[in-house]
Symmetry: C2
Subunit: 447 residues, 2 copies
């Protein structure tokens, strides 16, 4: 494990930002007993096979199967369209954005690492029609991703896509489809059986927001030429670092404990994730679902009304220094900010020493963009700390499949463990049922 994520907590601690807003060593020590219980409970459930997301880093055979599929697919198709929403799209999107060329689809064919890649998430007519306008569907593989098989948005887009394929390809329409769904249950599984459509399975015990290391995330990554073995190895590396119950030693537990104490003792109702790298912006979106849907709950495990849940917020450095940092520095002190910082970008860009007579340009000449971006991250973290605003920095040595695997696994463990601290179920989402039922009723589906 040569490239290791490191969490720097210094600016979240009371000795830097003060007792009112920072976490003290005493608070962490006080929490250790509760942490030990949460750890034992999580470990027992893991050992009983009740939390299969823990085992995903070790599914080596599945990875090989996906790689074989991807290799075939890459020879046969020019475009890959991922049809899914929420947990079925946030993980794969984050992986693609992190690891592909930032203008992947616009590169010439021989400079691209795989097919052009598109997402259809929202049943937005302008987007769906807009893509089908110019896409050569005969050269396109559509992956329909829904664990239940019944997600309304995905079902609707699937019907539109299947119709376009039938019109373009006639009886061969099924060759351009793959389904990623439950291994046994649901209408998409049944349809796959009836129509003999190729499928990949999502373990029924793994919720959408924990599914990035299942075929939901691995297949689209492999299709784009990403080393999914390295991603799984990164997750396994992080698993090894997360064995201890010690809040100082286990990075996932440390992240969870600091957020829990910031929320419960210091009024930090908002958790901002702010990468200083365009490539990592969608990791913040992935985290946003994981944190909100897992920890935003009305009732605790004993049925008491608690209405807990930090609001996770995505921001982008340095861009949001010109949008949100004024509020973060001067507004209510109700946020815990986590920076994602990249030590070594893929590219080095030198700033040409030109117009050196101008004060606004002279100091930049001869430096690198890399340096400017990282200096801005450090300056923002220090300015926040100087205003008693707690913040963490998660250091990525590089953005690689391995460090992404570490990141996903660390945050998933942190979330599951946080469920224990808050005494809530981090794996359900009862609050969305009401809206679903209303939608079905208004769309004329029997409930």
């Amino acid at each position: 494990m040569s490239e290791v994520l490191e969490l720097n907590c210094r600016n979240a601690m009371a000795d830097v930002v003060g007792e009112e807003h920072g976490i003290s060593e005493a608070e962490l020590a006080d929490l250790q007993e509760k942490a030990d219980e949460a750890h034992q409970h999580l470990k027992a459930r893991r050992d009983a096979g009740e939390l299969p997301f823990f085992h995903l880093p070790y599914e080596k055979e599945l990875a090989e199967e996906i790689l074989r599929f991807a290799s075939d697919m890459r020879g046969s198709f020019s475009n890959y369209v991922h049809v899914g929403i929420g947990g079925s799209s946030l993980g794969p999107k984050a992986v693609h954005r992190a690891l592909l060329h930032p203008f992947h689809n616009e590169l010439p064919d021989d400079e691209r690492s795989g097919p052009r890649i598109y997402y259809l998430e929202n049943p937005d007519p302008d987007t769906v029609a807009g893509l089908l306008d110019f896409l050569d569907v005969s050269r396109t593989l559509f992956n329909i991703v829904t664990k239940s098989g019944s997600t309304a948005e995905t079902a609707a887009i699937f019907l539109v896509v299947a119709d376009a394929l039938q019109k373009a390809l006639g009886p061969k329409w099924k060759q351009n489809l793959v389904f990623t769904t439950d291994p046994e249950q649901g209408d998409l599984r049944a349809l796959a059986r009836e129509e003999h459509i190729l499928t990949f399975s999502i373990d029924p015990g793994v919720g959408g927001r924990f599914s990035v290391l299942t075929p939901v995330g691995l297949l689209p990554a492999a299709v784009a030429g990403i080393d999914i073995r390295a991603m799984l190895n990164g997750a396994a590396d992080m698993d090894r670092r997360c064995q201890s119950a010690d809040l100082r030693d286990n990075p996932a537990y440390q992240f969870a404990a600091l957020h829990y104490l910031a929320n419960q003792r210091h009024g930090k109702t908002q958790a901002v994730m702010m990468p200083y790298a365009d490539s990592l912006y969608d990791l913040a979106d992935w985290f946003r679902q994981l944190w909100a849907e897992s920890l935003g709950k009305a009732r605790d495990l004993d049925g008491r009304e608690v209405h807990v849940g930090q609001t996770p917020i995505k921001a982008l450095g340095a861009v949001d220094q010109h949008s949100q940092v004024q509020l973060y520095i001067e507004g209510p002190n109700d946020k815990l900010i986590t920076f994602l910082r990249v030590e070594q970008f893929r590219r080095e860009v030198k700033i040409a020493p030109n117009f050196g007579g101008y004060r606004s340009y002279g100091y930049l000449g001869g430096k690198r963009l890399n340096q400017l971006l990282n200096v801005e991250q450090q300056a923002t973290a220090e300015a926040l700390a100087a205003h008693q605003r707690p913040n963490l920095t998660l250091h990525f040595p590089k953005v690689t499949p391995g460090t992404l695997g570490q990141f996903f696994f660390m945050l998933e463990v942190a979330t599951a463990f946080s469920g224990g601290l808050y005494h809530i179920d981090p794996f359900d989402q009862p609050g969305v049922e009401h809206g679903k039922k209303l939608t079905y009723r208004m769309m004329g589906r029997d409930e």
Copy 2:
């Protein structure tokens, strides 16, 4: 004015969501006196010419000048690159995303409404090098947008771009540049004079976050073939609707008052903007800067420490039903949510009636994606209201230059007026100075 934005406040009111979380008529009536004062103050400053953003909708000659420039440019260049950050990019990006084809850059040349469009906002080496990798810079116009002329991120990218142009074009490098900056001050203006580079001016009295109707937003819109006259007319239409001090009559004041009361009386520390249309997502990002930077302040006008500021949050419907709505429904009741709803999309997409024997698909056949998306918006608004979560819906009859102009102007007036309610200065941003100074120091610039 055939297409008029309408704000529906029903689900934010106490008679729907209850006294604890909703705004009562009595609270609005109590606020009217303060509103009258804020209105008089704003009107006096407007009449004294101190708030030039109010006059932007009426700058017809400037629009004609920009249209002439855009017409020339569209004949000469295949690509337009917008170099700017914060208030220099959020407005134009929102306009492009709202009105252009969702896959604009990937359309064949003869189906595109103008040049391919790119943004360089962040000094991210992977993004900047990634774009310059494949872009034919000789066929590209670069617009460098910074009012001060000294914004570090924009200055650094400008130096990289100028170097690439000099290498590709030799002495003709300046023909592919335009600067948008202060009419008199700053290093970019001085350089433009020295090098005879074409410029457009930003009124020094208009801050970045209020600048979308200056050349900052109008030029890139016109370059893409967008009807900027209609956008200005839309803003002027909204100006006419915002003349009254009556909180029930003036949509900008109503929006501001509901947010103010929700924040100050009902603990709504977060303001979510959630468009149900992919095309409007970047409006939420534009709003995010406007609201955060204008209203997030440590001190009031009398110098008292207040630390006010709602956190503006962007969300996207229906996508975030699968990510954030669990938290919005069950978590802390600390949010006021504003939906943006589009009554008529540009496209209609019928859902083919296929696989009708399956319960998950049968009910969708024969319906339209348009209907599904809007039904989901309504279902989410109603589910939130049923859980005492206040929400507003801003109805866009269509997404057009005119409705966008209305939107921008309404929210700018709402923000300026909110400054009066909170008794703070909505036009400064003192909190970002500390980080800027640290950055300059670490990059070796004299302060």
